[in-house]
Symmetry: C2
Subunit: 258 residues, 2 copies
């Protein structure tokens, strides 16, 4: 499994990913899933991948090949983030076309999803999710985050702390806690965690981090978050069993037998 | 969707369930999913259901019919919780056998899962999950909770606050927060919430509650939990971007192009 998330706020972007891949519980390994295609001072471009590893590595290879051969359309020539999302989608479609019929013969899942975040000179920062089918959606102010992979365990913290006005520092913290919650509940998501925080209009990714297994900062925030959660939990008022006596009858199936 | 959970601790049981059912987003309705089959002073028996509603209602109907007709084997005659789990599993198998071939013709999911918690005089409290296939597992001290339905959003709070030694009051609070987290992140889980807390060896379910939409206690704990979470979040140390400068190279795909 995989968990990657992108956050877009009024002051920039945060992109984070775990690095665990598994094909069954007996084949767990580590693969990088966050890739920085930034061209400093010109454009910031970050990609995260989830799903079938052979498909996503193929997509990255195609993107990279176009850069190296200076193909007319590549990550560094296309003029807008929208067109880059379309272009990444076309690479996904090409990999799917090539491999899917073969994978399907053996019932292997060919699905993949990608996150694409960045900013091009003269444009706003933007964040996209590209689907297996090559189509894509863009994050908006109303829901300023997108997730791929094992998304559910880490969503409550995002739902409760993130808005479009959240600072980049707070969004980065939130991303780490979201990944940590996921790692705690699903062993198929694991370190190293890659994290990038991008300040809008800076056109470089200065703040980036790889947190490995047992990294002291990772250990510290997990411990502190657990203590804080437990304290918050203990401060919650006990259930008021008396406040609605009429509810007692609602769930009895066998009153007549009592 | 549905979310139900059962918690077993050294001092008793907590069982909770939402009440939302949906067949597509355009057919959302309210159905009770927690049922109390307790026979006061003799045995406490609580069932929760998730999955295909026609199947689970059918199972409940079969269980109830055996009670009303005083069949030899019924929820009030079987001597152990294990045998009751087996018996509930046999009703699941009977409903599956009867309906699954018809549902499968139209690609309709016939899956269902049930939680069964309770205590019989002379026995310990026990908690089971009965699968669609009629087989079942029992909760143990190591992992003192079982969930059915939309389980992921509400799991982090359980993973971080529950142990077998948690008090029943705390476990009940935790169950409500787990359901509230799920409701916040998935609109197909919703109130009324039914909640039962059972003190071991009491052989009655005195503490039970139905929390309806907008219930003041539900509003209060959601608000207070959000405030507490946000405060805990704000107290977390900011990301230390400098602590591992070597990590910078790891995720760059295009250093040569910088």
């Amino acid at each position: 499994m995989t968990y990657c998330l992108g956050i877009i706020t009024s002051s920039g972007l945060v992109i984070a990913a775990d690095s665990r891949t598994n094909a069954g519980v007996d084949y767990v390994s580590t693969y990088q899933k966050l890739f920085d295609f930034t061209w400093v001072n010109e454009r910031v471009l970050i990609l995260c991948t989830s799903g079938n590893l052979s498909i996503t590595q193929g997509v990255l290879n195609l993107l990279n090949k176009d850069l190296r051969t200076q193909a007319e359309s590549n990550l560094h020539t296309l003029p807008t983030m929208y067109e880059i999302a379309q272009y990444v989608g076309s690479k996904v479609r090409s990999m799917q076309e090539q491999n899917r019929p073969w994978l399907q013969k053996d019932g292997i899942d060919a699905q993949c999803n990608l996150l694409l975040g960045g900013q091009i000179q003269g444009e706003e920062p933007e964040l996209y999710m590209v689907y297996s089918q090559g189509n894509f959606i863009q994050a908006t102010k109303e829901t300023p985050f997108l997730q791929i992979g094992e998304t559910k365990y880490g969503k409550p913290i995002l739902d409760r702390t993130l808005t479009f006005e959240t600072s980049i520092e707070a969004a980065a913290k939130c991303a780490l806690l979201s990944i940590d919650s996921t790692m705690k509940s699903n062993i198929s998501v694991g370190p190293p965690i890659n994290l990038i925080a991008y300040d809008r209009d800076s056109f470089e990714t200065k703040r980036r981090l790889t947190l490995r297994l047992g990294d002291p900062y990772l250990v510290k925030i997990r411990k502190q978050w657990e203590v804080s959660l437990r304290q918050a939990f203990e401060r919650m008022p006990d259930v008021d069993w008396q406040h609605n006596p009429h509810s007692k009858v609602d769930i009895a199936y066998t009153d007549s037998l009592d």
